[in-house]
Amino acid sequence: MSLHLILFLTFGAVCVAGAVNLLAQRHPINSALSLIAVMGALAGEYLLLGAEFVAAIQLIVYAGAIMVLFVFTIMLLNAGEEERTKGSRVAILLGVPGMVIGGTLVAWVLLRHSGTGSAPVGALLGDPKTIGQLLFHEFLLPFEVTSILILIAIMGAVVLASKPEATQNRKAR
């Protein structure tokens, strides 16, 4: 077993454990923390794939900025433990075997029919310079479109989260 495989399995185990913990926990803050663990382990996987810049951005933007937004909202709304509601029995009876069959099928197809070759560590250069050149030459139009998207998102967030009275005052004026 190579070191690469051992690292992959370690990070993968953390990922899966965090994802399952996200489902198992009832308090949203615990789910948020396990999601941060998943994102950190995924950054490790990206490093193994030679995508160092993506790994750094994953930690800074995803595990940093976006999750801070989540934790901030949880604290702002004082979210407590969620109440369990009873699911229907038909859903469990049909859903669990369906999930097992579907999962086995996907695993079988992936392990059997996909290419087995993989890139050695560090073969692909994912450094900021190369990515920046690609981003600002070939992907310039999508880049500009996403900048408009994020501008609209900023305005939408401000409008939605502002107090209703403030909006009414503005209308009255």
């Binding site: 996200l22 990206y46 976006i66 909202t73 392990l111 993989s118 890139a119 190369t130 999508p142 994020i150």
Partner: protein, 100 residues
């Protein structure tokens, strides 16, 4: 060397956990986090394919997915705040009317 299929399997497990969380969780914030989990699973398969075919386009796409996730988180959490303001609950079972 790790085969591509292992990465794809891990990515599909993460995506499936996200779908399961989206369906079984009742707290609207946790449902949102499940969506982030799904996006992360997709990102992993993008990066794995980029490494497999020696194309950096896959890694560039991860950035676009991240931007969309950030925009979605900002707008979605603002919606959650305004839902909480009008209904005083985060349980999606009690948010069943379009208009109050």
């Amino acid at each position: 060397m790790v085969p591509l299929s292992y990465y794809l399997l891990l990515s599909s497990i993460l995506f499936a956990c996200g779908v399961a969380g989206f369906l079984i969780k009742r707290n609207i914030i946790t449902i949102f986090m499940s969506i982030e989990l799904m996006l992360n699973g997709v990102n992993l398969s993008f990066v794995a394919f980029a490494a497999h075919w020696h194309r950096l386009s896959g890694q560039v796409f991860v950035f676009f997915v991240m931007v969309v996730a950030a925009a979605e988180a900002a707008v979605g959490l603002a919606i959650i705040i305004s839902v909480y303001r009008t209904r005083e609950t985060l349980n999606v079972d009690q948010v069943n009317l379009l208009k109050l």
